[in-house]
């Protein structure tokens, strides 16, 4: 193993969180910073050449190579886990920018009470309201503490939207249910395509409160506080699973990388796969010494560092702690241990598929162009008599329909799945179909967790991460409730036929249901029940920080990136203002 000269900071992962931390440390300090990204570099200037649905959306060219590494899944501890042999349920990124290059760019904040879910629920309903086998926790950070950081990252990415709650004042046209905002969005909302406009009008008529989705696919030319300028979106409809051809969609490569590249104290190494965090055991516990990785040529390298940031997405953050034997692995039988606990996904599905008489021109749109209602989110509606807690949002997204993924959906009245009758209906309905989607909260349970798989390995021979994951009655009942609401809205929109979602059964890894996987290295206020403290600093290894969705104790209905970036921004402040002056526990 080759040992490189020591650096101040090593960051594992070159996606949203890793590059945000690199930018903050690189521009606010003179520390030497190395970012290790296992994927390749990206040529964001040529994303226009990549608008090929087959190679990018269907064959996942921007995603992690599943032949090298995947995850295994079982629903309960008594089942044998099987590997997810190709991507379907969620889409891990690889390469500079990570999944932040091929995201859709919806950018909502979490509701304030999400951060104190356990205490607020008990306060309002008593502990008996919680599911028997839950492992819900408070985050150890409040919405008020996070608000300036939400604002900061919204400015950084140029989020386009309309405030619904400015310092407590309800604002017409925004989400009146949202947490207070200290300022308006930096850009006005994006344009609303036809299908989403129909949803807006129908939900308004039904007495709900529609609002435009806060979007990182920005509505106009914008220069952010770092002086980085990006153009407005042209609604080409190639966001999800693609990089943006003009850079209107905020991506790590067009928002953070240009700043980093100007900093001589930051180096980005691609093709560098970190396999272990290396540490010393001292009288005071463990101290990270750096990381070992395999470089692009296959050579094993040790990179010593004073501080280590783990920023390699939910699955790999958890896996690297387990492989490195840092912290106690979670044991669902005893409830002891912390690493791997509280795995959550999102209750995310097409609640109502609506078939219309008129064409919708659905090829036009952008990843975050659309309208939502939060009337059934969180604890915002009356739950009395309802067999579930919490909720989610319903939305009509116009992200740009592409034909391979969307052709062939026909109303239930059409029985054949191929041949003339099917083709005729599928051609007719191709541009007359829209989904009302539900995003719901996923509570944490004692039985949903991650550990190392005893059978299946990655291409280096290290164990894959194993999911033990299934839905519970709370999610199934919530989905039933939301489906009924979505069908009602679809009818109000004038749909001729509506196919309701058939319901959640066991966790189905073949159904695309967002890349919003969280947990495994969760944050909290007690080292007995969390891996990192409220500053995302490891409880036992104070020079190790963990960034990303892996720190969420449970999942909200909101898309996670805004909260992930706000937490990262808060950690950057804590590191620069406090930790560097006195490198010790921040909490």
């Amino acid at each position: 193993m080759k040992t490189l000269p020591s650096v101040d900071v090593v960051i594992v992962g070159g996606g949203w969180t890793g590059l945000l931390m690199a930018k903050e440390l690189g521009s606010r300090t003179s520390l030497s910073v190395v970012v290790l990204e296992r994927g390749g570099p990206r040529n964001a200037d040529n994303y226009g050449d990549d608008m090929d649905e087959l190679d990018y959306s269907i064959r996942f060219r921007m995603m992690q190579d599943a032949s090298r590494e995947t995850v295994t899944l079982r629903h309960t501890t008594t089942e044998r886990a099987l590997p997810l042999r190709q991507h379907a349920s969620f889409f891990p990124g690889a390469g500079v920018g990570g999944a932040g290059e091929h995201w859709n760019g919806e950018f909502p904040r979490m509701l304030p009470d999400c951060f104190a879910l356990l205490s607020k629920t008990i306060e309002k309903y008593g502990a008996e309201r919680l599911p028997e086998d839950h492992s819900i926790q408070d985050w150890g950070v409040t919405y008020d503490e996070l608000e300036p950081h939400y604002m900061r990252v919204e400015m950084l990415l140029g989020i386009s939207g309309k405030a619904g709650n400015l310092r407590g004042k309800q604002m017409e046209g925004g989400n009146i249910f949202e947490g207070w905002r200290s300022g308006e969005y930096p850009n006005p909302p994006v344009k609303i395509p036809y299908f989403s406009a129909m949803f807006r009008d129908a939900t308004k008529a039904l007495g709900y409160h529609p609002y435009p989705i806060p979007a990182a696919t920005i509505s106009q030319v914008y220069t952010n506080p770092d002086g980085i300028a990006r153009p407005g979106c042209t609604y080409c409809g190639f966001c999800e699973r693609f990089g943006c051809m003009i850079g209107a969609k905020a991506q790590p490569t067009n928002t953070l990388l240009p700043v980093i590249q100007k900093r001589k104290n930051v180096a980005l190494r691609t093709g560098a796969t970190v396999r272990r965090i290396v540490y010393d055991t001292t009288q005071n516990g463990k101290r990270a010494r750096g990381v070992s990785y395999i470089d692009a040529t296959g050579q094993e390298i040790f990179q010593p560092a004073e501080v280590v940031f783990l920023a390699s997405w939910t699955l790999n953050n958890t896996r690297l702690l387990l492989l490195s034997q840092i912290g106690e692995p979670y044991d669902p039988a005893s409830g002891k241990g912390t690493v791997g606990r509280n795995l959550t996904h999102q209750v995310y599905y097409p609640a109502a598929t609506a078939f219309f008489e008129k064409p919708l021109n659905r090829f036009m749109g952008s990843g975050a162009a659309g309208v939502r209602i939060a009337d059934f989110d969180g604890d915002l509606f009356d739950h009395s008599g309802l067999p579930f807690m919490r909720g989610g949002i319903l939305l009509a997204l116009s992200l740009g329909f592409r034909p391979i993924a969307n052709f062939g959906v026909v109303p239930q009245s059409v029985k054949p799945k191929w041949g003339s009758e099917w083709k005729k209906a599928a051609v007719h309905y191709y541009d007359r179909t829209g989904n009302i989607v539900f995003h719901g909260e996923h509570l944490a349970y004692k039985g949903n967790f991650m550990d190392l798989d005893p059978v299946y390995k990655d291409h280096f021979g290290d164990p894959l991460i194993r999911f033990t994951l299934d839905w519970r009655e709370n999610e199934r009942k919530m989905a039933e409730f939301a489906t009924a609401k979505a069908v009602e809205i679809a009818r109000q929109m004038g749909a001729k036929e509506v196919t309701p979602f058939p319901g959640l059964r066991s966790y189905d890894a073949t159904r695309s249901q967002s890349t919003h996987i969280q947990g495994g290295t969760i944050m909290g206020s007690s080292p007995d029940r969390s891996v990192v403290n409220p500053y995302l600093q490891h409880w036992q290894v104070s020079n190790l920080f963990v960034l990303g969705g892996s720190v969420f104790p449970q999942n909200a209905s909101a898309n996670p990136t805004p909260t992930i970036l706000a937490l990262t921004s808060r950690t950057a402040d804590a590191v620069v203002n406090r930790y560097l002056k006195n490198p010790s526990a921040l909490a």
């Binding site: 190579d65 344009k191 021109n361 749109g365 034909p403 041949g419």
Partner: protein, 221 residues
């Protein structure tokens, strides 16, 4: 080295449209009987390609609702996909043990690659290309629940609507049929207009839009 196989298509059978040969040179052939084009095959034998063409045509027929798999060149598309990294499972996790009878929610867990699934499936469709339409449909109904059929159906849809650089969607006829314009630089002026009316810009392929050659994955390792 396999023997060089060709798929010979008569101009009449494909309705006289632009076809793309192996080196992606486009040529327009007129629909008169007697004209034909020989397309070099990368994976199938000619007999196999004819079965795939016939089966894809049952799935996506040419009829009064518009052109089908035959005119779109679906068999050529599938041949190239199978010869490329996808056909060999280059990017699928293929470590043992395999669990052939896993529940559906774990996805396809078998060992066979798309190449092997097609080879096996086509063996069972021997003589298919020579059957009458009713017999062909009946034969496909019998295999409707197989992994082979679901791949064939999915690949047929891909071949109908992919960018023509991949060998299917010849002359953009799949896109024209459903009103998809392909990748477009900007819909800024139109995205919030045309409510309730079909807005159908003239389709263009990726290389027509960028003026550069596309980099199809089936041509890469």
């Amino acid at each position: 080295m396999r023997r060089r196989e060709f798929l010979t298509l008569s101009a009449a059978s494909i309705g006289g449209v632009v076809v793309y040969s192996l080196d992606r040179k486009a040529s327009r052939i007129s629909p008169q009987a007697g004209n034909s084009i020989r397309i070099p095959l990368r994976f199938f034998t000619e007999a196999e390609a004819l079965i795939v063409a016939a089966a894809a045509s049952c799935i996506f027929p040419s009829d009064e609702a518009g052109p089908g798999a035959r005119e779109a060149g679906v068999a050529v598309y599938i041949d190239r996909q199978l010869a490329g990294p996808w056909g060999r499972d280059r990017h699928r996790y293929t470590q043992e043990p395999f669990e052939e009878n896993a529940p559906m929610e774990f996805g396809y867990q078998g060992q066979a690659t798309p190449q092997q699934i097609y080879h096996q499936g086509l063996k069972e469709l021997k003589g298919f290309a020579g059957l009458g339409p009713d017999e062909q449909n009946q034969k496909l109904k019998q295999i409707e629940t197989t992994v082979f059929f679901s791949l064939l159906r999915q690949n047929t849809i891909e071949g109908m609507f992919c960018d023509p650089t991949h060998g299917g969607n010849i002359d953009l006829l799949g896109w024209q049929m459903i009103g998809f314009p392909g990748p477009r630089m900007s819909n800024f002026d139109d995205v919030d207009k045309h409510f309730g009316e079909a807005f159908r810009p003239k389709p263009a392929s990726l290389s027509q839009m960028t003026g550069r050659k596309a980099r199809a994955s089936e041509d890469q390792e």
